[in-house]
């Protein structure tokens, strides 16, 4: 599996959260890789463990209640889970950076935009003040903020949501990271602004030849931005494929169900397909395949044993042996 261009690979990661009475297996043996210069999407519903798995890359899981049980995260030959806090600190922001969902709360309201970006650079680099300023302005320009010299001294509340998210991206770019993790960066934004930000991320990814791990629940966004996709459900990856493959030949009942249940004008008048039931509570997951209570294809074995990934070739894997037996190749 080890590919030469692998930038980061997460192997069989397991993360639990515990409270007084229960243990929630938030991430339950997840493996994925992000290669150099590609955009990978982790897609899944709330509580499927997509954010948790990304936060564990940066060692940002609070413990307690969180606890990384097993697995490894290899980045540049090092296992990030084994590193100390100081070594992680050097990697955070510098080699791997993160953009969060809420542009309102992820900027500190009492500092100016300029302060916060220069700070992001200064943590990792020693730079002369005027050069620092130049770099900041350049960063703001890069993320498409008009009149960056004026914006430099603005406070976060003076910017619109889209601009704030741009500033967040500028901060994430501050040290030219190799990997940017974007956790639902457009969910809180309007569609037209979302389109701007997606466009920006795409062009930045290309111009800076970095990799992006993009976390979202929105299949439309996935289709638009991703090179490869991992679909998560209840703490496990149920399907992985190149984007085109996934949308045109989904191989897991969950992915199929999600795609079929998206409404649009052309489905008018037809009844929408809907996946019955609800997303399982991470603390009370069903045994066997976690999707079986909602799956139209479930057989007895699904209730007992969580299936392995079935390989459809061309890096298209899906965790459903039932469909695989019916139709192993395209």
């Amino acid at each position: 599996m080890a590919n030469k261009t692998d930038l980061i690979s997460v192997n069989k990661l397991k993360v639990n959260f515990r409270n007084n009475t229960e243990i929630a297996r938030a991430v339950d043996g997840v493996s994925y890789t992000v290669r150099r210069e590609e955009t990978v999407c982790l897609v899944g519903e709330s509580g499927c463990g997509k954010t948790v798995s990304a936060l564990s890359i940066l060692g940002l899981i609070d413990s307690p209640p969180g606890e990384i049980v097993s697995g490894e995260i290899l980045f540049a030959g090092k296992n990030l889970l084994k590193l100390g806090e100081q070594e992680l600190q050097r990697i955070r922001g510098n080699h791997i950076s993160m953009v969060f969902q809420e542009p309102l709360t992820s900027l500190n309201p009492v500092f100016t935009i300029g302060d916060q970006i220069t700070e992001a650079i200064r943590i990792h680099k020693v730079i002369a003040p005027d050069e620092l300023y130049e770099r900041c302005i350049q960063l703001l320009k890069d993320v498409g903020i008009t009149a960056p010299q004026e914006r430099f001294n603005d406070y976060p509340h003076q910017l619109s949501g889209g601009q704030r998210q741009r500033v967040m991206i500028a901060m994430a770019l501050a040290c030219d990271p190799e990997l940017m993790i974007a956790d639902e960066p457009t969910t809180a934004l309007d569609v037209t602004v979302q389109a701007q930000i997606l466009q920006l991320l795409k062009s930045l990814q290309r111009s800076r030849s970095m990799s992006v791990l993009y976390i979202t629940h929105d299949l439309g966004v996935v289709a638009n931005i991703a090179d490869r996709v991992y679909v998560m459900y209840a703490g496990i990856i149920v399907e992985q494929a190149y984007t085109y493959q996934l949308f045109h030949h989904p191989r897991h009942p969950y992915t199929q169900g999600l795609l079929a249940s998206l409404p649009n004008l052309s489905k008018r008048g037809q009844r929408l397909y809907s996946i019955p039931g609800t997303v399982p509570n991470p603390a009370h997951k069903p045994p066997g395949c976690p999707f079986h209570p909602r799956c139209p294809f479930a057989i007895d074995n699904c209730r007992i044993q969580c299936p392995e990934m079935c390989n459809y070739g061309n890096e298209h894997l899906a965790r459903c042996p039932v469909l695989y037996e019916k139709n192993p190749d395209i």
């Binding site: 409270n19 007084n20 603390a283 009370h284």
Partner: protein
Amino acid sequence: MNLEKKTSQPDFQLERPMAPKSSQIKEFWLVFSNNRLAIGGMIIFILFFCSALLGLFLTSGPDPIFDPAQIRLQEKLRPPLAKANLDTLRPEEVPRMGIYFFGTDDLGRDVFARMLQGAWVSLTVGFVAVGIAILIGIFMGGIAGYFGQHYLGAVSIDTLIMRIVDIMLCFPSFFLILTVVALLPASIYNIMIVIGLTSWMGTTRFVRAEFLSLREQDFVVAARALGVNNFRIIFRHMMPNAIAPVLVSATIGIATAILTEAGLSFLGFGVPPPHATWGNILSDGKRFIFDAPWLTFIPGIAILIVVLSFNLFGEGLRDSLNPKLRQRR
């Protein structure tokens, strides 16, 4: 893959609740019971409550079991756990079990009996004063929060009430109480009422803030859209959701009221003399602090423990009633 055709059965398998049934009290207890300090506070709270109630029965009536007013000058300033000198006492003067559990004071009165009597005073002062404060606070806060945007002439109701609160907060309340108590005939009821009337402002602010945020909550809007009347919205929808922080502040408020009463009694403005309170036991004892330190320490430590336990209990309540903390999965 023709998923649409595959499943003709609709998505109507009836939905059942996700989580197993659990009452809110049970969940509250789960969090609360993990907080040892709060549990300790609650146990002392209950002990104090029981002993105060018991104290009322044991120290009152025509022939009390522990007589707090019995003067035995020949037995003055006996240390704690001292045996009564049976030779010098008349039979009706002999303390129960022939022992002074907490010693005697300068008039030879049994400090244990006096502490029991004082416990009841502290308890009632605490509860009645805070009860008054809470009632006023909920009423004022509720009006300010719910009807605040209505105008009375030039100012809105909210502005009016909150400015009254500000003015009340400007007075140093202890001195206000001192003044009022000096003017009124000294009685335990006056003290309760005065303490209550000067400590409702915090609750008002709490309740107003809660109501303001609850007003905007969707379930309240839904109730309004259904045509539920104001009375029911306030008491059925908003109050139960606003009561938790009030309860917390009440618990801590009781501690403050007990302290205030003790302070007043210490200064001699409290409950009139023959009646014992922890404050005046402390006050009487201060003259003998070197000869009879127990007269100062026993009521002092009792006040400390009770106030501390109420505060710990209140903090514990706050932590376990806080829905943000509780909804964490």
